[in-house]
């Protein structure tokens, strides 16, 4: 049953991401990516990484997608794109993606990862374990990431500050 759930979730993920890259309307692309993110969060739950699954839904499906939707609505991109894109570029792009997939698959096909499910600890993805881990082993990166967020926030404000000298 759980194996079937894995295949259903991965099929949903792949189909929605393919629809995402081929859809003409950016709004629909964002919504398809949202479906993909939720199925990835489901896969995290299947791996018992519950903390990361919740963080994934909050950060990606919550914050980032809302940011994208807000920007799309803000820019009002209903105006048609005037620049023509050549069919050759599209064919080359699809071919490149398919070749990357093919090469990586053939490279990894015969690889034995040597994973043993018997050693797996069920509690590894719990918030209590991972929280202790983040605040002990990764305390300095954790604090640095807060500074990164602060600098990103300041950078965004500086970027979009209106230049009053022009007026």
């Amino acid at each position: 049953m759980t194996a079937i759930l894995f295949y259903i979730l991965s099929a949903v993920c792949i189909i929605s991401s393919i629809l995402m890259i081929f859809h003409k309307n950016a709004m629909y692309s964002v919504l398809y990516l949202l479906i993909c993110f939720f199925s990835v969060a489901g896969l995290f739950v299947m791996l018992n990484a519950q903390f990361l699954s919740i963080v994934h839904v909050i950060v990606y499906a919550g914050a980032i997608m809302v940011l994208f939707l807000y920007v799309i609505m803000f820019l009002n991109m209903s105006t048609p794109v005037t620049i023509r894109k050549s069919k050759l570029i599209m064919v080359i792009a699809c071919f490149t993606g398919a070749m990357v997939c093919f090469v990586l698959t053939t490279a990894l096909w015969a690889t034995d990862f040597g994973s043993d499910p018997a050693i797996v600890d069920q509690n590894i993805g719990m918030a209590s374990i991972l929280g202790k881990y983040l605040f002990k082993e990764f305390l300095i990166p954790f604090e640095v990431s807060s500074i990164l967020f602060l600098s990103a926030m300041v950078g965004v404000v500086i970027f979009n500050k209106k230049d009053y000298k022009d007026e």
Binding site: V30, I64, L75, M77, I124
Partner: protein, 112 residues
């Protein structure tokens, strides 16, 4: 042999290789999207997809090898992705204000 937990049972049913191939396909789809689309927003979305596939790969390796380092790393990848999207979308809005399009083919001032 001690008793098998449901997670171990499930990990036995779905081998690590399947997660690896799923992430690989998602990464290739994201790469195709970056190369295919001319709209900057779609390029960003494809980048997010690629980051997601890498996250999923790290989490699956972390769970199968019983190592919490991978999940802590995924946490930081998410942090950096959120900051990247905020700065990237700010740049996108700025580009739109200056060029009045988000088509990346319009941004060819540095071409030659």
């Amino acid at each position: 042999m001690n008793d098998i937990t449901p997670l171990q049972d499930q990990l036995r049913l779905v081998p690590l290789e399947h997660y690896v191939f799923l992430c690989l396909v998602l990464f290739s789809i994201g790469l195709t999207g970056v190369l295919l689309r001319r709209n900057l927003i779609n390029v960003f979305l494809s980048l997010e997809l690629m980051l997601n596939s890498v996250n999923l790969l790290a989490v699956s390796f972390s769970v199968y090898y019983n190592d919490p380092n991978g999940q802590a790393f995924v946490f930081f990848v998410m942090v950096v992705a959120a900051a990247e999207v905020a700065v990237g979308l700010a740049m996108l809005v700025m580009i739109y204000r200056n060029v009045h399009t988000v088509d990346i083919n319009a941004l060819n001032d540095l071409k030659w």
